[in-house]
């Protein structure tokens, strides 16, 4: 297993949805069982090139998320590998029962993609801003719940989803994102990626907060605090081994997520620690609030999803160790 961390964290010119679609196209060329479904958001998902290349394997269902998930279940039952897309809340909230029964309970192989995680829903506002999607999806037995954070990880995780039988929920940021990985990084289901080692504290981050965690770690280094940074891109199954190693080796953990800390990464890490190795834990994330409208940078400040907040929580955690 190899993790190659990029030295330059500039925002990628290529949008993540373009990488998503390119990966779907590549997989479809290799395997005629790959099919794509959407609920009138192919434009947003950037998957229109897929429709152009494979019209017969594209099912744009109109604005009917529940039916889309059910159709995907039917396709899966006949051996196809459906990737469905809609905005995160309309997958996880509106089609929850369909994902539960027709997909997961029925042991299908459906990959549910929910876009615009948390504050990246930006100008669509609170109605479209999922701070709860991973919590809902994680509660369904056998679901794999993931959130890639950059271009390389979107490609790798999409491919991994196709190669791994079972139902997945994939949180997808559509636009450009800070570069975290270099090509050649391996992703393994249930394994966190170590982005930076450290001895005083571990920052366990997901999605939008991964790049912020790297920024925070750099700032902390200058202040003499050595922070380990893990990308917990796979929330479920959680890499408990990495969490427990972090607790034992660094003595304090700060989680960072673009999601409600309740039933999100914070809760998952807390549960693992409490049952196995109680340790100091601080959580950066949405504190049980609804989303609201605004540009993402504004919302990052509003909900304290920033490198500065991670630094503050790390200092608090390190102080608690004394």
């Amino acid at each position: 297993m190899s993790v190659k961390v990029a030295q330059n964290h500039a925002v990628s010119d290529k949008e993540l949805r373009k990488e998503f679609c390119d990966t779907l196209l590549a997989m479809a060329a290799e395997d005629d069982k790959v099919v794509v479904l959407d609920a009138d958001l192919m434009n947003a998902a950037g998957t229109k090139p897929f429709r152009a290349a494979y019209p017969e394997r594209t099912f744009d269902c109109g604005v009917q998320e529940a039916n889309m998930i059910g159709v995907a279940a039917g396709l899966s039952s006949r051996g196809f590998v459906p990737f469905t897309h809609t905005f995160g809340p309309f997958a996880a909230r509106r089609a929850c029962d369909q994902i539960f029964m027709s997909c997961a309970y029925a042991k299908q192989n459906v990959k549910v993609v929910g876009s615009d995680p948390g504050i990246t829903a930006a100008l669509n506002g609170g109605t479209h801003m999922p701070f709860e999607d991973m919590g809902i999806m994680s509660t369904i037995p056998e679901m794999t719940v993931v959130e890639p954070c950059d271009l390389v990880s979107v490609g790798k995780v999409t491919r991994l989803a196709k190669e791994t039988k079972g139902c997945w929920y994939i949180r997808l940021h559509r636009k450009g994102a800070p570069t975290v990985y270099e090509e050649g990084t391996d992703f393994t289901v249930g394994k966190a990626n170590l982005l930076k080692d450290g001895k005083d504290v571990t920052i366990i981050a997901m999605g939008y907060l991964v790049a912020e965690a790297l920024k925070a770690a750099e700032a902390l280094e200058k202040e003499g605090i050595s922070a380990r940074v893990l990308d917990m891109w796979c929330l479920k199954p959680l890499d408990e081994e990495a969490v427990l190693a972090a607790a034992k080796e660094t003595g304090a953990i700060v989680t960072a997520e673009n999601h409600n800390v309740k039933n999100g990464l914070g809760s998952a890490v807390a549960s693992t620690l409490a049952q196995n190795c109680p340790a100091i834990l601080e959580m950066v994330g949405v504190q049980d609030e609804f989303g609201e409208v605004g540009p993402t940078p504004y919302l990052a400040e509003r909900f304290k999803l920033t490198a500065d907040e991670i630094v503050a929580k790390v200092k608090k955690a390190v102080a608690r160790k004394a």
Binding site: V35, E56, R57, F59, C61, G62, Q64, A66, N67, M68, I69, G70, V71, A72, A73, G74, L75, S76, S77, R78, G79, F80, P82, D97, Q98, F100, M101, S102, Y105, A106, K107
Partner: protein, 276 residues
Amino acid sequence: MNEVKKFAVDIRKETIKCIGNLGVGHIGGALSIVDVLAVLYGGEMNIDPKNPQKDDRDMLVCSKGHAGPAVYATLALKGYFPMEMLDTLNKPGTRLPSHCDMNRTPGIDMTTGSLGQGASSAMGIACANRLKGYNNYTYLILGDGEIEEGQVWEAAMFAAAKKLSHMIAFVDYNKAQIDDTPENLCALGDVAKKFESFGWFAQNVADGNDVEQISAAIAKAKAEAGERPSVIVLNTVKGKGYSKIEGSLGSHNMPVTAEMVEEAVAELDKAAAALA
């Protein structure tokens, strides 16, 4: 058709016996769909009980998953699994759960139970079969109460748009739900007309417990639907075949005693004798 009628009697007997063996179950809505099951599995469907996964088989989604016992009785009689297995219905560790489960029961093509969902998965199956280049049919059984679910109408619009010509849906219009009649609860109106306005080839079958009428409607659907999906509204009687509970609201899920089984089987034996 006499054979199919006899098959229907046998399905009814086994359905009542397996529910009675447990003592309680969804008997009313199971008995109302027996005749369509007899037509489908008694010759209409291209299936192979020795090879339940035959890839180009005709398929059935019983979206009113609570009618599972009738489907199980049908499958057992067709030889998908031993008849004795029917005695395990809903017992710990059974392969025959209350609601249909494709991962547990040989011959069940889709897991159902949360109403409305089988409509969509059936459309997905029809899409998949077309992608595979098959001309097989996907059959779907919906309850009348079930079509109060919005998802059914999402699936209906989808099926028409995608021209799912090899989809034949049945509505088991037995006019009795758990709490009340569909008319009092949700005003279903003219179900066939509703589907027709959604772009389906729609037919009403006056007696949905008459295998000849059902069979004729399927033939007509296959001949005349063209690019449209088909729906056949079966005017059925809840609890059909066991006169004591026929048409009763209370038969949705009710206790079934050994005495009731005896009484029902005697009644059905009489019906079978009349066919001979």
